[in-house]
């Protein structure tokens, strides 16, 4: 602790240089935080996916529909607890760039299957009482400023209505919250019975099933049993754990994790150069001073720690500001204006950031610190 003063005084020697170095470190950690949030937007779904849930879809492709009658047959498969269906509605609210997911579901089944969607009992009741009722996630409602009681028109791109119209109107009767930080609250659910009686075609057909198994360890066997049940039928199925399904979907978009890792590596490579260079200069300029410190009794190890301490002080200040700024930037909203299901910096990545601060400090400071450690007093004082 008593050396802290020494460390900060030497950082004050060249204020401009210290400031510029800190700023470049700020930039690195700002990007780190922001990119973490982007990565998380794609990864969160997999993380919060229920280990006990399977997705059952048409074997040929997700856009092909399955009979609603499969529900009871799936529920009879050994090890299945419950099955609930959803269907992709794919409508447009006002304009195409306002993308969000809309799905007709059976309300009781939805809440049984997804305990992470939290809706008050009152609003649940209202939904059960309103055929054209719909509920929206908190994030979605905030994005468009919706309030309970709003009438929300959605233009169908697939599902025209029996009356030939394409505009479906829903009454917003509930806004659900996420039980966890990573829960997707960007979706819109409405009632399947209303959907089925209003759509012009496809009666009795649904998009896919979510299945809860009683024993997560047996999920693979249950999935195989479900697929076997429908083998050689006109609509064969493909079942897989929810996490794998979401991961597969994210993979289609591209290897986001890899791209972000590459960018981060480039960023930190750059920053390490800048910070390491600054530290090298600080040591070179102070050869004499460091030798005096040794002469009056500082050990080699002590001088090494002093230089590393300076490096840590630089990165700590810069890193903390950078992470703070990224947190601010992220809380201001995602770059797609709300299409990402979640957008936040996961706690894990904040810890990772702190680790990275220590690592950056070490890598940037170690070579100059070793130089300082090796300094021969008698030699250095002669210069």
């Amino acid at each position: 602790m008593k050396y802290l003063y020494l460390i900060f005084s030497s950082l004050k020697r060249k204020k401009l240089r210290t400031g510029l170095t800190i700023l470049s470190i700020v930039v690195a950690f700002l990007l780190f935080g922001y990119l973490s949030a982007i990565r998380q937007a794609f990864a969160a779904g997999v993380e919060v996916a229920g280990a006990d849930r399977l997705i059952v879809r048409h074997k040929v492709s997700i856009i092909q529909l399955l009979p609603q009658s499969y529900e009871s047959r799936i529920e009879q498969v050994e090890g299945v607890d419950n099955a609930a269906h959803s269907t992709w509605f794919g409508g447009i609210y006002q304009e195409p760039r306002n993308f969000f997911a809309q799905m007709p579901v059976v309300p009781e089944e939805l809440f049984d299957m997804y305990p992470e969607y939290v809706l008050s009992d009152e609003q649940k009741k209202a939904w059960l009482a309103t055929r054209s009722g719909a509920i929206a996630g908190r994030g979605l409602a905030e994005r468009f400023g919706w309030k309970l009681g709003d009438r929300i028109p959605i233009n169908a791109t697939i599902w025209s209505k029996k009356d030939g119209g394409r505009t479906w109107e829903f009454d917003l009767v509930g806004i659900y919250d996420g039980a966890e930080k990573g829960t997707d609250t960007s979706q819109f659910f409405f009632r399947y019975d209303f959907f089925d009686e209003t759509r012009a075609f496809g009666e009795g057909l649904v998009g896919w099933y979510t299945v809860r198994v009683s024993d997560p360890d047996a999920a693979a066997e249950v999935a195989a049993a479900i697929d076997a049940e429908f083998a050689n039928s006109p609509s064969e199925t493909k079942s897989e754990p929810e996490g794998a399904f979401i991961q597969g979907f994210a993979n289609q978009i591209g290897n986001i994790g890899f791209i972000i890792m590459s960018i981060m590596s480039a960023v930190f490579f750059t920053i390490l150069l800048v910070a390491g260079n600054t530290m090298a200069y600080t040591v070179r300029e102070r050869t004499g001073e460091l030798a005096v410190l040794k002469a009056i009794g500082f050990t080699d190890r002590g001088v090494l720690s002093l230089v590393l301490g300076e490096s840590l002080a630089l990165t700590l200040v810069g890193g903390a500001i950078g992470l703070g700024l990224s947190w601010l930037l992220v809380s201001m909203g995602d770059p797609t204006q709300g299409s990402l299901p979640v957008f936040y910096i996961p706690t894990r990545d904040i810890f990772l950031g702190l680790l990275l601060i220590a690592a950056t400090a070490f890598v940037a400071g170690i070579i100059p610190a070793l130089q300082a450690q090796k300094l021969q007093i008698a030699d250095a004082l002669r210069r």
Binding site: R17, L20, V27, T157, Q252, V274, P335
Partner: protein, 396 residues
């Protein structure tokens, strides 16, 4: 004037000769800028690649017809009669076998991606005989065309590269049937290269689509013929369709992804660029302070401050330019032509594309590097020139 110029030359000479003494910080600044440019060019080349794939799909004199109200083929549906009427509309070019119009079907099937082994939505397109003539530079590069009426498919070169089970000799599973792959085709780098093609009638029966289609692609006699073509279709009481120029149709499909990636890429580049500017400033301030005495001596000897400013600036621009070139070259070597697949949100299906590090992107990267160099050099240069000579001479 000559005097001033020779002053500039000699001062620049001094500063360039002193670069090796400041190797460490010069290399740090240079590599820092290289990193920024490489990332910027790399990320933007993704957007360029997608946009180029869409552009090469579109012919200036081509049109796409969908059911009105649908923005994509997937959502569209056209009866056989409608398709026939559209195919006879005025404005469509003809050849020996009739008008150049192709009613088509569009579905997707699951196939595992080579990179991850997880399923992707691969487009499967049912076509009629005119379809190849409406695509740019369609050609079979391996194997042969499928036989009309048979359960055979041909596969785009991008699709065969990115997804498993699409080599000649293997077959895809549709319902209870196995459809053999008999040929690989290219289509001028366009979207079709991500697709699997089959005879439309085969697809119709496999998917119980009767005699219906989802879209009609048509080659017009000239780009200018489009308005007449469209007006004719929209005013025809038997039809409920909309017609788009192919260029507009594809531009709209890539617009969102393009804007997203470009926006994000630019944001990242700008933030990283700030970091590089701080690095460059550091380097140049260090350079100036290392040369304080030398610069003061020069000025005491009667050199103007102009040449001093120019020499500091040109040094930082030189470093930036080299960094920019290295970064651009790195991005070009690492990314250009790298083929991958992503999801086209509009068609909800996979699209394969190559990262496109083109000349204008490289230029953009180098200009960005120069901006970093300019900002990074300007302040230190001004400081060097402003320093009171007497004071600077005393400094060690």
């Amino acid at each position: 004037m000559f005097n001033w110029f020779s002053q500039v030359i000699s001062v620049i000479g001094f500063s360039i000769r002193s670069i090796p003494q400041r190797k460490g910080s010069s290399i740090a600044a240079l590599l820092g800028i290289a990193g920024v440019v490489a990332v910027m060019v790399g990320v933007l080349s993704i957007a360029q690649g997608i946009a180029r794939t869409m552009e090469s799909s579109a012919g200036g004199d081509n049109a796409v017809v969908l059911r009105s109200g649908s923005d994509t083929e997937m959502m569209s549906g056209l009866g056989g009669d409608e398709a026939r009427i559209i195919g006879e509309a005025p404005g469509i070019a003809r050849d020996d076998s009739g008008t150049l119009a192709s009613p088509e079907l569009f579905v997707i099937i699951n196939l595992p991606m080579r990179t991850t082994g997880t399923d992707a939505n691969v487009p499967l397109r049912g076509v009629l005989s005119q379809a190849p003539k409406i695509r740019n530079d369609f050609k079979i590069v391996d194997g042969r065309m499928f036989e009309w009426g048979l359960n055979e498919v041909i596969v785009g070169s991008g699709a065969t590269e990115q997804f498993t089970g699409l080599e000649i000799g293997s077959s895809i599973e549709v319902g209870q049937e196995q459809w053999p792959v008999v040929g690989i085709f290219e289509a001028g780098g366009g979207v079709a290269e991500s697709e699997i093609w089959v005879d439309a009638s085969v697809l119709q029966s496999a998917y119980r689509r009767g005699n219906s289609y989802q879209s009609v692609y048509a080659k017009l006699t000239a780009p200018a013929a489009f308005d007449e073509f469209r007006d004719n279709l929209t005013s025809d009481p038997r039809l409920n369709v909309k017609a788009m120029r192919e260029t507009d149709y594809y531009a709209a499909q890539s617009e969102m992804v393009y804007n997203l990636i470009t926006g994000l890429g630019t944001l990242i580049a700008v933030i990283m660029g700030l970091g590089a500017i701080f690095g460059a400033l550091n380097t140049m301030y260090t350079a100036v302070s290392a040369r304080t005495r030398e610069i003061a001596t020069l000025r005491a000897l009667g050199f103007h401050s102009g040449p001093v400013i120019i020499s500091v600036l040109s040094e930082s621009l030189l470093l930036a330019c080299m960094g920019g070139l290295i970064g651009a070259a790195l991005a070009w070597l690492a990314f250009d032509g790298f083929r991958t697949a992503t999801l086209n949100w509009s068609s909800f299906s996979a699209i394969t594309f190559s990262f496109d590090v083109n000349f204008s992107l490289l230029l953009q990267g180098i200009v960005f590097a120069l901006v970093i160099g300019l900002v990074g050099g300007l302040f230190p240069a001004v400081r060097a020139a402003r320093q009171p000579v007497a004071h600077a001479l005393r400094e060690l």
